[in-house]
Symmetry: C2
Subunit: 542 residues, 2 copies
């Protein structure tokens, strides 16, 4: 496959021009034809300021540098489409092994060159670019892509940090095991990136973040290599790994981790439940989240989101429930879950689907689409299936709409149940108002819950509206500022699983307790004394 | 109740002299009568070196200082019985609120006085004493004992750090909620202590440590008050709370936390399964731990442990399984678990017991014994019941045997499944050999699994042998050194849930990655620049 240099994912999945026009017809006020995608060779990539030592795996090739300029947020795509590559890295490093990583950091520390770790490059928070004035290198880690060791007894594997989702799953498959971490970016993100950003994955409840799947980590810091012991649990001091989980490339480069694996599911079942309104649905999801039944999927779509994805067009909210197990049948568990949903005012739509997954490998094997398809349950064509297909297509749709000058972006958060109703209503009202103010027209602010907890939920919002050609990034930034303000005011986290990067810094600074900020600055000064690692992310550059 | 100043728990539960003699008859080589418990008024408590400002809640009363000299490890009990109070604190502080904590830390920082936070004082790792030369204050936090706020919707409560287990449960009961954290020390330990030491609790699987029950924390550090936001989940940078969880009083004093609560169980069921040997039993427990069924109890006793507790006297290993739920009946879940155990070679002993807990409050309400009784399941008299009673009585038995110069102590660890068989066998062989070498006679080295994970287990060892009067502490220290050496050599953690304190420092230093140690020292210097907080624990005093 060929990765898009300007947009999400694979070039062969990008929307054709007529598809862009067709989709844009649903949003009033957009131009009649898509902006052309610039040819990379026509664009100006600023000259590299580096003459790196020839013994290091560095390239200054302009096309490679261009493809490492940004992550894949809406604002990144728009900037790339506009041909703005002024912030391209001076060089891109492709370390082949951990020694290369050590040598590169040593060189950069001495030379005062900034290093930004780059996994799959799918950051949507400005986590893989650099906004300062120093020469900088994007360190692409995808050559560190091997599963080095599998412990079948403990169901764990030692995996290199640069392995993309499908690459590591392919190597685990012969052992009958899976990491089962399927973020939307699964094809285009790496283990190290997931760990560095505390990525959210397959499980809607219980083990929602990659954090919970970690046994131990190996991290190259400028001050030395950190390697924790492989342990199933420990109470020996503060968890060493938890300091690096979420450190977003500011403290070191994740070169390896021992990860907890799962047997491939043998039974799956899913059901869709509809609710007349979001408040009723939220009460039902809360009851489910507090029942200790731990569904693998528990995804609530509000009416707008259900309509957008094709899960329901009748103005109802849709809850998609999924259960899976490698050990025991799950029909009974699903019945318990739908029973709770029904008790709380839901209508179970049709019969539950599922059963023994005789063709589990067929479901999971065919590549990223199908691996991500496992997010839900057995492959019946129902609301879950419709939503799943839309979920994977959404970033490509966003890119197509961006070419039409639409504004299409998401943001996500989490808060405790006592505040969920107010949060969702307030965000939709205030962000909707901000959209109106910025664009002069109403827009969509849809909501879904991606993950739920006994004590709260993670609402995820999608904004769709018409932008003005040339002003889209500024307009979105204004909307985003309004969104971050309301989240902070209501005590909801600035990010549940998209990470902080550069875009969430103001919200993160507001949320982070000051003694912890001081502690983090002290850690940074200790592990990265030259301040070369991803400066501007999490903490201010020194 | 009256707390014992020298031994575990309540004075009215201590063994009478004739009970001590009766128990000691089972261990060859002990004296014929127990050492007398010294009267506190006959002992010399060194004069206080402090003349504290009268505005602070400090006392220099010798009896109060004596009772805050040690934790409750075997070596603490023996030292107290020997009348050794040379290390008593110069004063004991009893802050009534957070302001008092702030003022005490300010004063201590200025005066260069060491402060050791003290919750219930049940540390078994030397975590609440001080072994240096500076004047020191034991800060007893049990006046901060209130549940300040309950959020019924999110099932969470804001609780002060000094609340003992029964004290906080009593305040949660009217809301129908429970923290459901029942360490063996439940009656004699506090929320703040649990958080500071990453205590292990009720659940044998899944949420094994208090860490998982935390929504947010409020910690007074010498550099300011840390307060994290109440969130059900977040991906915003490294988790702030995880830095303070396990910090063991070295970075700050936990004054409050928002804790996740449970509904009181409505259904419980339990079963006992026997196995011919530990290897077969371990395989079964591994299968159970990897099935995603999350039993509340999954406690494996080896033959020696089963015999000692009265759970079985036929030389078999005993697995106690327990399931509970507030939402759905659990008989089916228990049947799935016993089915897995049977498939792996176990014999299910008798009929499972359990059902709807009509009298759940009766089971849980009557005080600590019954609250801890909830560790297993409904109150049938079976192997689980026998073991449970022994579990709660064990510390008192230890104290009685200590008066007979027996050596009775435990240590615990965790490792991945691939190493569990080797670890258990090697520990039993090498620690058994060390016992023989030190005492000249064989002793018991029993093993149980207290908590299990999909990727490993937490073996817990009990050592019982005859000591020589006057040399017990030195003898135990030699055995413990051998135990720590084998754990470290096999890559098993120095502590799964007893914490590091002072006694586990060498093992912890070996286990902790050096970059993380450097980070922790930097954090310490930032948050506790005068180095007054619990110096010697986790990191060296500055």
């Amino acid at each position: 496959m060929t990765r898009s240099w300007w947009g999400w994912g694979r070039t062969d999945r990008a929307l054709a021009d007529d598809e862009c026009v067709e989709l844009a017809a649903l949003i009033p006020g957009l131009p009649g034809r898509p902006r052309a995608v610039p040819r990379l060779r026509d664009l100006e990539v600023p000259p590299s300021r580096l003459g790196p030592p020839s013994s290091l795996p560095l390239t200054t090739d302009p096309a490679v540098r261009a493809a490492h300029s940004y992550g894949k947020a809406y604002r990144d795509v728009v900037r790339a489409l506009a041909g703005d590559l002024g912030g391209a890295p001076d060089a891109v490093a492709h370390p082949a092994d951990e020694d290369d990583v050590v040598r590169l950091l040593d060189w950069a520390g001495t030379a005062g060159v900034v290093v930004v770790p780059f996994g799959g490059g799918s950051s949507v928070v400005g986590g893989v670019e650099y906004r300062g004035d120093r020469p900088w290198v994007s360190m692409d880690l995808t050559r560190l892509d091997r599963v080095l060791e599998i412990d079948r007894v403990s169901r764990a594997a030692r995996i290199q940090g640069g392995a993309l989702g499908p690459v590591l799953e392919e190597q685990l498959r012969p052992a009958g095991l899976t990491l089962r971490h399927f973020p939307q970016s699964f094809e285009f993100s790496t283990l190290g990136g997931w760990l560095a950003t505390r990525a959210g994955g397959h499980y809607a409840t219980l083990h929602t973040h990659i954090d919970d799947l970690v046994e131990s980590m190996r991290v190259v810091t400028p001050a030395g290599v950190h390697e924790s012991w492989r342990l199933p649990g420990s109470g020996a001091g503060p968890s060493p790994d938890r300091l690096f989980l979420g450190s977003e490339g500011t403290l070191g480069v994740v070169t390896e981790a021992w990860m907890r694996l799962q047997d491939r599911p043998r039974w799956k079942a899913s059901a869709s439940v509809t609710f007349p309104d979001m408040t009723t649905a939220t009460t039902a999801v809360r009851a489910i989240s507090q029942a200790g039944l731990h569904p693998a999927n528990c995804r609530l779509l509000d009416a707008g989101e259900a309509a957008l994805s094709g899960a329901s067009t009748t103005g109802e909210c849709v809850l998609v429930l999924g259960v899976e197990s490698a050990a025991v049948p799950v029909a009974g568990r699903l019945a318990e879950l739908t029973g709770l949903a029904r008790d709380a005012g839901g209508s179970v739509a049709g019969d539950p689907v599922g059963g023994a997954v005789d063709a589990a490998d067929a479901i999971d094997a065919a590549g990223a689409i199908d691996a991500a398809g496992a997010i839900d349950a057995a492959g019946a064509i129902d609301a879950a299936g419709a939503w799943r297909a839309a979920f994977l297509r959404m970033p490509y749709v966003r890119d197509g709409l961006a070419r039409m000058s639409a504004i299409v972006e998401t943001f996500e958060t989490a808060c405790t149940w006592d505040r969920v109703d107010e949060l969702v209503a307030t965000v939709q009202a205030e962000v909707g108002a901000a959209v109106g103010e910025v664009t002069g027209a109403p827009g969509l602010v849809n909501c879904r819950f991606t993950h739920v907890y006994p004590d709260g939920a993670a609402p995820y919002f999608t904004v769709i509206t018409a932008g003005r050609p040339g002003s889209e990034v500024a307009m979105w930034d204004d909307v985003k500022t309004a969104a971050s303000e309301v989240l902070g005011r209501l005590g909801a986290t600035i990010t549940h699983h998209h990470a902080v990067g550069r875009d969430h810094r103001p919200g993160y600074d507001r949320q982070r307790p000051e003694p912890f900020a001081a502690a983090l600055r002290a850690v940074k000064a200790t592990l990265d004394p030259a301040g070369i690692l991803n400066p501007g992310v999490l903490i201010d550059p020194v």
